[in-house]
């Protein structure tokens, strides 16, 4: 039994380590200041080169916007579910919708985003369409983990506060949210990681652009890192592969960094 467990772990870890190793080695080979700060040149049909600053700036904008939309909604939703809903019909409906969103393939959500935001709302390929589509995919993680983290806070804390004349909202603000914070932060983090690694929904809604984000959220396609990874790794040229390696490296490092920062913050929060 133990042998089997170890074997399975090795089976999973070896390829994973191999992939990470590959991206780190290749990433370090191709990383350079100009590669990070110049835009992509060419479309890949005959030649692609230059840097990935268009994808970095686009990803930052898309993620910032998506997170700004997801976190407040997910938090409010999770707080409602855990502290106010009493498992009523509305909360059941809310959970159902969230579960459906989480269970859907991102391709389907991307298509929906395309039909709703790009076509029906007429925003075209744009940062807003991309970010909203991403936030549909990210929402369930914040929503669910917030609810679960709040439900884990023991009820006798709520009772103790209530007996001191604390209102429900005061108790939530001053006590409950605080103790749920590590869990909530983990959920936010998870959702950001999910958002960062999505490709398909953005293909449908943000398209891609060789230019840096120019400040317009509508009618302007934006670049993003996973596009380069996904599309350029399939092109025959070395220069395209190098851009893909570089983008993977940037993605992996940022997810790693976000995780480390979050760990530190969570630990800070968990301390009394």
């Amino acid at each position: 039994m133990t042998g089997l467990t170890v074997f399975s772990i090795v089976l999973v870890l070896v390829p994973l380590a191999d992939i990470i190793y590959l991206f780190v080695i290749k990433g370090l080979e191709v990383i350079s200041w100009p590669a990070l700060t110049t835009i992509t040149v060419g479309t890949g049909v005959e030649f692609v080169g230059g840097g990935i600053s268009n994808a970095i700036s686009g990803t930052v904008v898309l993620m910032a916007l998506a997170t700004a939309i997801t976190v407040p909604l997910g938090l409010l939703g999770g707080i409602y579910m855990a502290e106010f809903s009493n498992n009523n019909k509305f909360s059941e409906a809310l959970r159902f919708v969230s579960d459906v969103l989480a269970g859907n393939s991102s391709m389907v959500v991307g298509l929906a985003g395309y039909f709703i935001f790009v076509l029906y709302f007429g925003w075209g390929y744009s940062a807003l369409a991309g970010a909203l589509t991403l936030s549909i995919l990210m929402f369930p993680y914040v929503f669910r983990t917030t609810e679960l983290a709040l439900r884990k806070v023991p009820d006798d804390i709520r009772e103790g506060a209530r007996a001191l004349g604390s209102t429900k909202s005061t108790t939530i603000n001053r006590l409950t949210l605080r103790f749920a914070m590590p869990g909530i932060l983990t959920g936010i983090l998870l959702s950001v990681s999910i958002g960062l690694s999505e490709t398909a929904p953005l293909l449908f809604t943000a398209s891609f652009s060789n230019y840096n984000f120019n400040g317009s959220f509508l009618h302007t396609p934006v670049g993003f890192l996973t596009y380069i990874v996904y599309v350029y790794s399939q092109l025959p040229s070395n220069s395209a592969h190098n851009l893909a390696y570089l983008s993977s490296f940037v993605l992996i490092t940022s997810i790693l960094l976000i995780n480390i920062v979050a760990r530190v913050v969570v630990r800070r929060f968990s301390k009394v």
Partner: protein, 286 residues
Amino acid sequence: MMKPEPEPVHRVASGQGTREREILDHERSKGLTGDEGGLIRLQSLCAYYGEQKVLDEISLSIARNRVTVFMGPSGCGKTTLLRTINRMNDGVRKFRVTGQVLINGTDVYSSEVDPILLRTRVGMVFQKPNPFPISIYDNVAFGPRIHKLTKTKSELDQVVRESLEKAALWEEVGTRLNKSALELSGGQQQRLCIARALAVKPEVILMDEPASALDPGSAFKVEELMVELKENYTVVLVTHNMQQAARVGNEVAFLYRGELVEFGPAEEVFQNPKNALTEKYIRGTL
């Protein structure tokens, strides 16, 4: 809400109405039943969880600066009765109260009473110590902070210190107020919860088996504390520990299946119980 009845109707578990009347007369003679004597008066108080009636026409008067004990076997309605006084059961599904809980003559269930304010006047200590997982200081300061009872940091420091002193905890924790409350022992945690309740300056302190989850030594300290607290507060204690009831109680009420079987001075209830049920309970043969 039911209209208050002009004269509370008393019933006794065994149907001995006259005995109940005697107890009542006894109270009257001590001036405990008038508005002036009793700080808290329960009048024909009934409580229900859905169809289940768990308190049945409870009428009695709780005197100021005394320790009034409610004892009775598990499930007889002690906790419910206590939580009815500070309206902690508001919002419990299908919970419903009829009759009156008068504090200083005001029915706490009347529309002009704000349950939030009520709970600052009627503090509560729970069976299981439930300190917040924050510092000792922040635990005690929680109430004063949310109710903005103090203006300056030094005022707040003062309230925290006084509350911890009154709860006989200052000597043990005065030098480590910033430590987590969870690092304290069970008994210390319970006294911290008492200090936390005192910090909002209540008149009444409701205690629901506050010592039952503690080791004997800690339980004894909490008992001592109850006796000290009655100098400045009105203490209502729920316990199923008869020895404890006898040690700390001034008045003792015996509840059985939601009915008030007997109520009177502790010595009388224990040495000369009027009701056969009480006697059985005290002998441990119920």
